[in-house]
Amino acid sequence: MKNIMNGAILITGARKGIGRYLCEYYLQAGETVIGCSRDESDLSHDNYHHYCVDVADERGVGRMMRDIRKKHGQLGTLLNNAGIASMNAAVLTPMKTVERVFTTNVFGSILMCREAAKLMIPKKAGRIVNFATVATPLRLEGESAYAASKAAIVNFTQVLAKELGGYGITVNALGPTPIYTDLLRGVGDEKIDSLIERQSIKRVGEMRDVSNALDFFLADDSDFITGQIVYLGGVF
């Protein structure tokens, strides 16, 4: 791994899936990792600190950030991984589901970015990586709410990159292909296969594909890389 931004790494959706993998990956690299999720984590490590908070809960996120500031002083990186998917035809998707998807994926990500930036602005350095999805550029049928919520994040990422560029904070987004996590539970093999057929490189993504791209965004030398959306697997 290249030298990455100084300061703790905050990972949302840290309890399982990609978030859990990233916690372990950066702990193994010797970083201080702060994870958050709605539920407790069973990850135990001297350099790991967990907060039970819903990313869309403004008060809860505020409390967490105040505590991080007191205990760690500075935040180097935010990996905005928390997200929920909804796979359903648009005409059959209940509004409650749409609300739930947008609350976590859009409002939660925006809130986390805002509060993390407040801890990065004083030291004039930081890395924020939001999580997009290949469902957006593929205009994937059956994932309208999910794809639309992540499309909002793509645009938000690029606007925020402009707003925070002057503070030495980079803001990028990573769009993984399907990776076998809880998010994909219940998705049939046929659907996954047809999605993979639309990628330039036709295989299921792996966790290392995610951490490899993140290492690039987080590298000290990547301070001139911002507002970029990287989709894995050759999707564009």
């Binding site: 505020g62 105040r66 500031r69 407040k118 004083p122």
Partner: protein, 125 residues
């Protein structure tokens, strides 16, 4: 927001300093917080008009304004310092602040008033 509430929340130091309802020790403490934050910011900026801080020192008003990047840095720093001193969270970059007819960021006195008001609102809620 009504014009009357706008006026009361952004009145100048000369008026609010004499108000019997204002806690003077809190006012002095907040003035000190804001003054320290501006001084720290000015270590980097080195603006002449920010070397001596008074109630009338311009923050975001007229020719002596901070640029928007510096204003955001200052507001974030003041929020953190107020929180440390009063163990209460205040949000100074609120929709309310942005929509006020007279910006609470225009000078030190208006900023002190705004912090006091937000602290009072937090206690009341």
């Amino acid at each position: 927001m009504s014009s009357s509430s706008t006026n009361s929340s952004t009145s100048d130091a000369s008026a609010t300093q004499n108000s019997p309802t204002v806690d003077n020790s809190a006012r002095e403490q907040i003035f000190s917080i804001i003054s320290d934050a501006i001084t720290d910011l000015n270590d980097e900026l080195d603006y002449d008009h920010l070397r001596e801080i008074s109630n009338t020192t311009a923050v975001f008003d007229g020719d002596d304004s901070l640029d928007s990047l510096s204003l955001v840095s200052l507001i974030v720093d003041i929020e953190a310092r107020v929180e440390d001193s009063f163990t209460t969270e205040v949000v100074l970059a609120s929709e309310k602040a942005m929509s006020m007819k007279n910006s609470p960021y225009r000078n030190v006195a208006s900023l002190v008033d705004f912090v006091l008001e937000e602290l009072a609102n937090q206690k009341a809620s």
